[in-house]
Subunit: 443 residues, 4 copies
């Protein structure tokens, strides 16, 4: 490397860019080459030509197959092991001296050189996107090789720090947003699929809002977004919100904002908690623009309900289902059961009661079994209402038995609710739901 000049590199690598690696005339980038560039990034030469090297790695990584990525990450793992003896020695040194120098040494001993490699890759244009992709790949590949978890943790730590709330900007998404970003919104929406540009446009109508967090270095990439409907009264069903025939409401007359879809856009950012900030900041935005809106609620799926239901017979303590009810419950496996009035009528009281019990008693550890419930309750929301036949999409039926629920965010209660939930494991629900849950089977 030392014999290649920076300008040569800039001419051959940077300008030619990604192209370089796609042309048959250029020899294939291998994991070994990538590792050697990473090594160089850490070296003295790396200081002078860091950006160019980082660019090579960014471009090279994009062209690797999954097997090659596996090899690349395995080498990253094995080549930059932390030295346990050193850690112990430096820990003791620091204990004795308590000075900055020994503290830095201890810290450096624990922080694998991988983190410095990742930080330097970040110097390249698109470096951050590559790192996000790498983490996505690692989350997938570590299922094949659990050794990679250590590498994934390094990356996770950095991304967690870099995608700190302080570096995110809230931006409104509307019909004046560039098409390139709107296209991504269509792509990333996974709760209630957006069926083309016509559907999107309706979701950006005057009585609809969409907000996303963006990161300064990825200005065209929404990180997480939420779709909101301004309505009168809490909405019960998703169809009422995204129907193509619905009438627009004058937003100045709405009294309720319904958050009906929240989507994380990047698997590589899994576990970094954006959602809670997003909801609260959007809530404040809406409140300041539309002071007449008094209720802030979600319209949320119950994604683990039927999974739990399938095992409810085993979990009689929780479910309290009679044999008769059990038979009725089997009707739910019939296709289009909800269109059969009698079936629906029979199922309704049983499923609603079971849903109430599910929220209050079904647990995963000390928290609710339902992941969406865990998210909103931890954020300080209250489970307000269970809506029968709220979502008749295939997915909605399969996961939630067609049920949707409303969580309510009350600014005056958020901190208290959050405390109750976090410190006392209390599930904050409306009294009607509590009552439902206490009902005996057959009542």
């Amino acid at each position: 490397m030392s014999s290649i000049s920076l300008s040569q590199l800039l001419n051959t690598v940077a300008d030619a860019g990604v192209e370089l690696f796609r042309k048959s005339s250029v020899k294939k980038i291998t994991p070994v080459m990538l590792i050697s560039w990473c090594e160089e990034l850490l070296s003295t030469a790396g200081e002078a030509s860091g950006i160019t090297l980082a660019r090579q790695i960014v471009n090279g990584y994009a062209a690797l197959s999954d097997n090659e990525k596996l090899e690349f990450f395995r080498t990253l793992k094995s080549s930059y092991e932390v030295d346990i003896d050193k850690i112990v020695q430096f820990a003791n040194d620091f204990h004795d001296k308590q000075d900055g120098d020994s503290y830095s040494k201890l810290f450096a001993a624990v922080e694998s050189k991988r983190q410095e490699i990742f930080r330097r890759i970040n110097q390249a244009p698109d470096g951050i996107s590559t790192l996000v992709s790498m983490r996505r790949d690692l989350l997938r590949l570590q299922r094949e090789d659990s050794n990679l978890t250590v590498v994934e943790k390094d990356l996770a730590h950095l991304l967690h720090s870099w995608f700190n709330k302080g570096f995110l900007t809230l931006r409104r998404i509307d019909w004046n947003t560039p098409a390139a970003i709107l296209e991504k919104v269509i792509h990333y929406e996974s709760v209630h699929e957006i069926k083309g540009w016509g559907d999107l446009r309706r979701r950006l109508a005057a009585d609809r809002m969409c907000f996303a967090f963006f990161h300064g270095t990825m200005p065209d990439e929404p990180i997480i977004f939420v779709e909101v409907a301004l309505v009168n009264g809490m909405t019960e069903s998703i169809r009422a919100l995204i129907d193509s025939e619905r009438n627009e409401l004058d937003p100045a007359k709405a009294d309720t904002a319904v958050f009906y879809s929240i989507n994380n856009c990047h698997e590589g950012l899994l576990g970094i908690p954006f959602g809670s900030f997003l909801i609260k900041q959007v809530l404040l935005e809406i409140r300041s623009e539309f002071p007449k809106i008094k209720t802030f609620a979600t319209l949320s799926p119950v994604p683990a309900f039927r999974r739990w239901l399938a095992r409810a017979s085993e979990d009689l303590q929780v479910s309290h289902v009679t044999d008769d009810e059990q038979k009725i419950l089997e009707l739910i496996d019939e296709p289009q059961w909800y269109e059969n009035k009698s079936t629906a009528q029979q199922l309704r009281p049983i499923l609603i009661r079971l849903a109430a019990r599910y929220f209050l008693y079904a647990k995963s550890g000390s928290e609710p079994y339902d992941p969406v419930a865990r998210f909103h309750l931890r954020n300080g929301a209250k489970l307000e209402r269970i809506n029968w036949l709220g979502d008749l999409s295939p997915n909605g039926l399969k996961q939630s038995a067609g049920i949707l629920v409303n969580y309510v965010y009350d600014l005056d209660e958020i901190v208290k609710n959050h405390e109750e939930y976090s410190s006392n494991q209390k599930i904050v629900v409306a009294s009607t739901i509590k009552k439902l849950a206490r009902k005996q089977s057959g009542q």
Copy 2:
């Protein structure tokens, strides 16, 4: 805290904002209060009301006196000590298990909770500025209490990661830049003082350029900036560049870009290496806009020259000064000596020769004694020329005996030069300077 609602907080703290803490009616924020808020930031309640708490801390910190800051940081130090036993235990655990879980535990054990506190403070508007101020304060205060170094290291680590090159944007500063930013350029320029708006305007004329790095979260704060003059031939003296009477050159006709002033703007970011990136990126910018420019050079001070000179008599090995010369050298203490032709004539050959020796032989450890030389040589530049009476400002005379030098950045040599310097401790200089340095005294 738990009994205060988020909306109450928002109303009382956020909206009232900084004001709150400046009014006599509100009780004084104490270090103890700040610490309790930091503690809360880490708690479960902190999750729900993090931004509000962070805001309180940001506002509160700004109002502390130095003594109170000292107390605040001391408590931060003592309250969040890392647990050495745990580190040793987790290190051994990780050694045995090699899994992600034990790795995370080890990492968490070494990373003081302070870092998480700082990350959460960053969620507040202006959080990042506060953290940069905190580090500036810590660098000052640790002279009084060396225990604070540990806290400073935590902050340094975070800032290093957050001010990664990948998060910096190069922006041109010119006469269309907002006055609020230009005012800061005037303020932060410390190499060659900018004497008001007229002087600034001349430095932004058509044959002048100024570039700065900005961080996404501080859009109005230059991080580091460089001033460049487009000229014909390498410039010898600073007066030629900033004189109020000079004639403008058609920039399309320049053959040389002279980087005559580089300024770091924030003490709190000390030690984070922006300068090297800035010079190279600006160089590429200029090359692409003005392809006729072939030479990229600095016009740099020699800030440690006279300090070294004062001790040169003790360091005869390096200085080789005869007694006669020593006497002449004393003339340099006379005021305005450079206006006395005979004095200047006598001093010139001696000082030039000594400067050459100074660059080649005077060391601080294995590196050059001169800090500016260390910076540019490490970046891959070459010391090209020593300029007699290049800077007659009081500071230029006091530190550099009026001497300025040119370092040249040649894109085809940067990596090689950097290698020579870093790996072989070689000082890359023009042969004329080498010859000067080899001259015997009296020659």
Copy 3:
């Protein structure tokens, strides 16, 4: 009116805005009311509350029916007649005095007060859009009442002055353009229909370009736009350009830019010559971004060809069609004739020859019969090639018999060609087309 205060007006009209006029509770705006507001706009009170009045007119006009508009314009016509006697008197005065005062009086006498009304309407937000709509309406309504032409001319004169090239900005339309603008591009494209967002996206791919003129006061409204394809060699058929399966070309490798669709977006701006400027400015833009592009050509319809063909039998002098050929020509009325190989083979030589004659000899006054030919030839282009079966869309068959042609814009010839055309009525065509036109029937 004079008893209503500005603030009252602002509160009742402006803030309530358009709403006011849509609510049943508010009495219907009538043409008489509009006229009274126009009158007031001209009065002294109008000076003080001009913007509010203009706003009322803008909102009120939007709610009128066609009959009401007719009434409104008729009154505008009759109420602000110019006074012929005064004109004659002032003309003579000016002749005698030759001073500025009498000149202004003459000018003012000829310029109907309507123009001042229109200028004041323009003070309202959206005033300009309203004026453009008014002219569109006038162009339609003057077919019913030719008296309105005078009003239309007033408006045309103002719009011509306001949409001066100096007030238009060229902007690139691409996938980063706001969806609200892209939607309008889809809507306004009438040469080669854009079939939804997928089609649009392909027309904005890396080897495609789209440019539009915008006016400062209507930042979201393209005025005219052109779609360009970067290709190798002049394209013969529209399908090759807009096919959904086509392969993208690396734009850096293209040698030809094909302008395949130019669209005026606003009927109300009919007759204001944007197209010529647009083509030339886009040509310069492309040339500066892609210096390898040497040929700038259009792919254009021949919209009056079949209309002329239908009368060609009457115009034997020009068409020279034999009886046998005449019979073959009738085949063109069969549906899908172009898919019948034998039919197509028979028609081809005859239609191509006739097209050549059409371009060279068919006239409307002293200019070519074909409107697109008139436009491009006047701009200084040259008719380069006639393409058989270039456009098989229903419209393309119906108007152009499936023929498309290429006009070439050669920067070194534009002024000369334009001169030849304008001063000498010369049709600048390729020699091959000249030869074709000279061919005898049956050859």
Copy 4:
């Protein structure tokens, strides 16, 4: 010209740009050349190469001397005379036919070709600035040759139409405004001189506001701007507002906005009424941002007071000055008279009374003698208060005898006041001023 191609032109003229005309190697542009280009602009060739020609004219005009400009405009005058016979003929034609065609002909006959030349010059980059400069020059040069008034009127008519309120945008000027614009604010302020950047910065402090109108084609050129102070109670003296030592007020606590300086920036736009719109739009802006502000007032000079005073002895009817008073009045010619307590005490009642009479009775035609009074009263303001020793600047003493006055803009009275003034010639003043004016001399 016709033999020069567009691309040649573009290469030789446009790219070389202004430079071309400043170099000695290029032959001097003469008025004759300019005229020939104007002629060409109107010709058929002009259609094809209009922008290039316009550019030549723009660049060429900038290099003319005053004498050459005079020659240029004289030729413009004589070469494009309107044809009186044609006007009379077309007027009669239109009278008979009443159709659009004859209307257009009449209009075209009256509108000199000069207007079309000016419209085409506007197609050049900077065309509009050139036209504004031309009008400024014409206003000056017509004093030498009154024949030019006709040309000036043509230009005035176009600029009036183009600088229509609908094309102006209000922008806030603050410390984040580009320095290039702020520099112009310093330059254009002529009411109360801005003494450098420090003074400017104080005028942009938190309790100060500055707003300007901008035109879309001149984004860096303020057209007119107003400086506003947010204060408590109407301010009496200018020193209180621009003093370098004053304390900033929390703007949220202000109850009054004082418009203390309005400046037109371009002489070439003289007579186009921006000021009235500016004041009202700024007033609405401030009201919406600071709802607590109840009073909107000016602090205005009385620029013709001393001119009138000098003649007041002749105008005894109006002034009612006794001989004793006349003697006292002579003290005003002593330098620094206002610092002499006794002088000031003697002068005060007399001057205040005379000022009151001046406002109520001194006339220029049917309007007030004072130009600033004419402007504000016509806008619907009310003269509220006369302030003794409000402006002790040399200019303030020389023109206004140190007096400043407050006009008050009350949104609920503006239309009524304007009507009273315009229709009934009523001077709307506070009753205290009325009383003062009625006072007998010596009282």
